[in-house]
Symmetry: C2
Amino acid sequence: MQISQKAAQMPASAIRKLVPLADAAKAAGVKVYHLNVGAPDIKSPREAIDAVIEKCTTMHHLSYTNSAGFIELRRGMVEKYYKKIGIDITLDDILIDVAGSEAFAVAMQIAADRGDEIITIEPFYTNYQTFAFLNGITLKAVHSDIHDGFKVPDMSEFEKLLTPKTKAVLLSNPCNPSGKVYSKEEMLAIGEFCRKNDLFLISDEVYREFCYTDEPHFSAMNIPGCEQNVILVDSVSKRYNLCGARIGCMVSRNKEVMAAAMKFAQSRLCPPVLGQYAAIGALDTPKSYFDEVHEEYVRRRDTAVRLLNEIPGVFTPVPQGAVDTMVELPVKDAEAFARWLLTDFRYENSTVQLTPAASFYKTPGEGKNIARVAYVLEVPEIEKAMVVLAEALKVYKD
Amino acid sequence: MQISQKAAQMPASAIRKLVPLADAAKAAGVKVYHLNVGAPDIKSPREAIDAVIEKCTTMHHLSYTNSAGFIELRRGMVEKYYKKIGIDITLDDILIDVAGSEAFAVAMQIAADRGDEIITIEPFYTNYQTFAFLNGITLKAVHSDIHDGFKVPDMSEFEKLLTPKTKAVLLSNPCNPSGKVYSKEEMLAIGEFCRKNDLFLISDEVYREFCYTDEPHFSAMNIPGCEQNVILVDSVSKRYNLCGARIGCMVSRNKEVMAAAMKFAQSRLCPPVLGQYAAIGALDTPKSYFDEVHEEYVRRRDTAVRLLNEIPGVFTPVPQGAVDTMVELPVKDAEAFARWLLTDFRYENSTVQLTPAASFYKTPGEGKNIARVAYVLEVPEIEKAMVVLAEALKVYKD
């Protein structure tokens, strides 16, 4: 008996494959600074957790909801969230998913068949590649460069990748892993490219509330003339620090897309109900919460970026959003370095865990000397982690 | 822009596609007896709900768990549940999934590639067909007949379907929709067939605690010599009436299977965390809870079966397990009848919703005059629903 080729060849998570090495280090009593996971450690809004407690207190039976999620949650998102941030949608345009992961996995399948192609921008979120692989979709990538702040390349670079098999453009904005926030002009250009070439635009905006520039976030939902092209992927995971709720949504004004999404939704019956309660509660999160989180992340980002760039041979641009930054290292192979950090290097009995960036790229060789650093630790911890990293680079030999 | 062929051709849920008609009837003030959904209405164990409240009370941050789920939940399932029911597994053999739905969707993909074949037994749970379709797997079905209580056909019927592309046998035991509980002899025969032909045996046992015969449930995990073949699909949804928690698991002693399952698990980051808390709490559910639920379902089943068989022209066998029974109706097309019930028929301003069974069958024409009845209402409601159904059949013209 053999497992399927698909299961055998499926790539393991680049982000999580160093976990056993980190676990071994920790088991040996070593302190590991986790700069590897984009899981915000900031408290969830009390409104979200209290909503769960309140519901549970009077609950007799934890039953299914509609496959599209509680109507109360969908309506709440439309009225209390999207309306407020200037995204004008109706109840029919939104469906609750099992986090952003399900939303983009389904969106990709709605846009593209096996053998079709989706264009993304490298560096990209690795699980786009995972779900492309699982569904026989070819992911093609235009290159954005660390040295010009991951600016969106000229549309002629997108045109070069265009074939009759191209069905969609997929991007995350703000971008995980680069922290790039797409400008309105960049989004309009991508929108025009999609409109002109009859492509879906799958816009993953789960980090929307994590923008550190003065320019407001410009959602793909607001590109004029792209109403039928855009499929928005969203989530409460980052916005309200509710990663464990596993609640996201797909939003589109394209009725055919939403009808198809409903068939996918029915196949897994319903989204997690307790998480939906948390999401309903989270809709009443006060503005002060976001202000505090915003300030905290700016502090963390500034600390991480400053200290990284002070290390000889290290370069990172200033990320405009999300919680990660891409860091060019004075090493030949960031993956070998990341492994060595966990297996061999100790500074005052501590080390750091980084995510090697090669799997965020399609172009062979790109990202080889780059690691992703998630600045999800408190400032004093980031400071200590950077000392450890600096010491490591002093002694590391490729 | 066109949606993918896959999304366009994906079958809509047979169980849920009548929902809009039922909603319309209800909106018009009609009472609809829901005999269509296998969603138990019985209260969840207080231990499960209280565990969520307790965790939330001291929770600051709803973060990710390991992709395989909380180790506390996996260990609890191994020690407090599987050990108790005589399934001997270790912590490495179990991974928490987003309900049984994810577990069998992943198990099918681990067993079979696009173009491969999986043998099941009709009538079968319709979403097996949905996930076969989504993954380009061909589902083939041996026929089990309503008139002999859905007895497993002779293994020669399985042999007939065997090709070099056959990779697995997939079944639910107790069976949704038929209520069939596979005897030890039947399971041993299927196990031997899988062992002999190097096939995985994907055994969906989410209704394990819903067996109404004196014979104990015989799990595929206990077929001698099939340790490497068996992939168990399980869930807390039915066992503890926690459908909304969306927590299930995959269990297998095959290390290659579990390593592949972990890659799938990582691609969706982690299972719902609040649901995991409910599942941890549910492990302390007292035996008295199961005894009460058992008694209640036997009462419901006996009432439904007796009243159904009293209606002229109607036949249903006595289901041995789960919460559904297959009902042969004196109509040519059960789907047309089910629609008519919702759109046209009213008895004392009420009607019933049934699930037409054709989509539970692969053999053309089979199941056409059969509906699935879920006996998930309280006895007095079942009694009233059967009166409505009897009155409907008096006046219905094909």
